[in-house]
């Protein structure tokens, strides 16, 4: 019996060690980079020699590039959070009825629909970005934009929302569909047989039962929108170095001018050599992602992850 117990312990230890490896690797990956936030002597010297930063040099030589003093940091965060909230709102308004239809109605070639949305999750981001560029910047949609006199691509409002919507919608849809699948359609049929209309049966029976899954899907869609990188990079690019005159008065008023999508800003800052500034932005994204994935685990959500 004691041999059996030791056996069991060894088995558990073996399997724990693999999970522990992943846990420690991830922890090490994210925590060991905290020292990147401190500006090194070499970086300070380089900035003094090259003199690229001018008046901003004093800020850039502080802890983490003095990110809390730089309006670019707050404007970028403002831009990204507001845009992703708009994206999530659109995705849930459009996605919840779609998930309901895919889960309940008999649709021909449903497997093709499911393959389409599942394959979006394993499609490279650069392909999504290129598809968006080609869809909007060539052909009939381009002519339409010329006729109307505005651009989808390289714009803050429709551009960034469209770019982040593509994958955020696909992720949210999988979670919402799983939520509706887990509700027995019989309840709805009973409600219908008792005389309630289709809309009322949905609103009073199915929706409350699927509520936690729907909330999880909204969080998932928002997290995915925050994590979007390639589609925004391809479709919108960076705005940091555009002249102030390129932005409208309204954009300036809501503090979104000369700001970037946060994950694109991480890339841009690291490429410019402001390693510590890039890492400060990256840690913000890690915090946001960590908190929302923790909430999803607590809710016990169902669906895909990318």
């Amino acid at each position: 019996m004691s041999g059996n117990k030791a056996n069991r312990k060894a088995f558990k230890a073996l399997f724990y060690s693999f999970a522990g490896f992943l846990f420690l690797y991830s922890l090490y990956l994210f925590l060991s980079n905290l020292d990147q936030l401190f500006v090194t002597e070499a970086a300070v010297k380089t900035r003094e020699i090259t003199d690229v930063w001018g008046d901003d040099r004093e800020i850039m030589n502080q802890f983490a590039g003095g990110f809390w003093k730089d309006p670019y940091f707050w404007k970028s965060l403002n831009l990204t959070v507001v845009t992703t909230l708009i994206t999530t709102l659109i995705a849930s308004i459009v996605g919840i009825p779609t998930a309901y239809a895919l889960s309940r109605f008999r649709i021909k070639a449903k497997s093709i629909v499911e393959i389409l949305f599942s394959s979006l999750i394993v499609m490279p981001g650069s392909v999504i970005g290129i598809c968006l560029i080609i869809m909007f910047n060539y052909g009939p949609l381009w002519d339409l934009q010329n006729a109307l006199g505005f651009r989808f691509a390289h714009s803050l409002f429709p551009g960034m929302v469209i770019a982040s919507l593509v994958l955020s919608f696909a992720l949210g849809l999988s979670a919402w569909k799983a939520a509706f699948d887990s509700v027995n359609p019989r309840f709805e049929q009973v409600a219908r047989s008792l005389g309630s209309s289709r809309w009322r049966a949905f609103r009073t029976v199915t929706f409350p039962l699927a509520k936690s899954g729907i909330i999880a899907g909204i969080i998932l869609a928002w997290t995915r929108a925050m994590a979007e990188f390639s589609a925004v990079l391809f479709f919108c690019g960076t705005f940091m170095e555009l002249p102030s005159s390129r932005f409208s008065e309204f954009t300036k008023f809501i503090q979104m001018d000369q700001a970037d999508w946060v994950s694109v800003a991480v890339w841009a800052q690291v490429e410019f050599g402001n390693i510590e500034y890039g890492f400060a932005l990256a840690f913000v994204l890690v915090l946001i992602g960590g908190i929302s994935v923790y909430i999803m685990h607590r809710i016990g959500a169902k669906g895909y992850i990318w």
Binding site: P97, C131, S196
Partner: protein
């Protein structure tokens, strides 16, 4: 007497159907826009070039190798996450998930930060194996993202198997390891193969991390999704669109294969 089911509220299914059809149409247009742009004869021209297939094979072999390593770690880790109960379970699971929920570009930046540190500098010093701006860097990026993804998928596969079978096997005197190999793994076989395909496709789709960490050397580290970015920067739209067609075909065929095998690959 005819049982009257009310016709009020009919607008709701109609609305759902209309939204679904228009969403589907726009996504199909999005996916098909490359073909429409490129045309048939140009597709054939670019597909017959060796540069395309060199990049394709690079993508295939790197993602196969990284899938192999992530399965090695991911299957036992997924089993542990699925079966064992331990304190701070949700916290541990969230930390394991972090590389897939944060933006992959951020993961690339963090990998760029750790490759000068303890295990990596030691490996490059003693074994002459530099992990950075070469194909090992590509493998490391793919492994980082897919190991977490694989653990998630495996946890979902093991969750679908009732614990009862294990209890029966254990009560009949089999050791835990024997139970795992003779009962759990054969039962989870389909789920594991299906997840393996998805993990492979995910590894082949990884490029944002490479952008910050590895960079591209033509013919060495330019796996297909990254090559799209490079060629787009040099303005070679023919290459870009033909390569994104290949990537789309890879993703779609991987997911179709997964569905034929019968995997659900729901992760949570």
């Amino acid at each position: 007497m005819k049982l009257a089911v009310t016709t009020r509220g009919r607008w709701w299914p109609a609305l759902c159907g209309t939204i679904t059809v228009s969403i589907l149409a726009s996504y199909l247009l999005l996916i098909a826009s490359n073909w429409i742009y490129l045309g048939w004869s140009d597709t054939v021209y670019f597909f017959s070039k060796t540069r395309m297939w060199e990049r394709f094979w690079l993508t295939v072999w790197t993602s196969t190798v990284s899938t192999f390593f992530s399965l090695l770690i991911g299957i036992p880790a997924g089993y542990a996450l699925s079966r064992f109960r331990f304190p701070l379970r949700h916290f541990v699971a969230s930390v394991i998930d972090l590389p897939i929920v944060v933006s992959p570009a951020v993961v690339g930046a963090f990998l760029f930060g750790i490759t000068t540190r303890f295990p990596f500098d030691w490996i490059s010093e003693h074994y002459g194996l530099y992990i950075g701006r070469n194909v090992y860097g590509v493998l490391l990026v793919q492994f980082t993202v897919t190991a977490a993804f694989c653990a998630r998928l495996m946890k979902a596969s093991f969750d679908m198997i009732p614990v009862r079978f294990e209890s029966v096997s254990r009560s009949l005197g089999a050791s835990p390891l024997r139970t795992f190999f003779k009962v759990v793994l054969p039962m989870a076989k389909n789920g594991i193969i299906a997840s393996m395909i998805v993990v492979w496709a995910r590894a082949a789709a990884e490029w944002e991390g490479l952008m910050l960490f590895v960079g591209a050397t033509e013919g060495k580290t330019d796996i297909m999704p990254f090559a799209i970015y490079l060629d787009w920067n040099s303005g070679m739209m023919g290459w870009v669109t033909s390569m994104s067609i290949v990537c789309i075909l890879m993703a779609v065929s991987a997911i179709s294969a997964m569905r034929i095998i019968g995997g659900k690959s729901n992760v949570w």
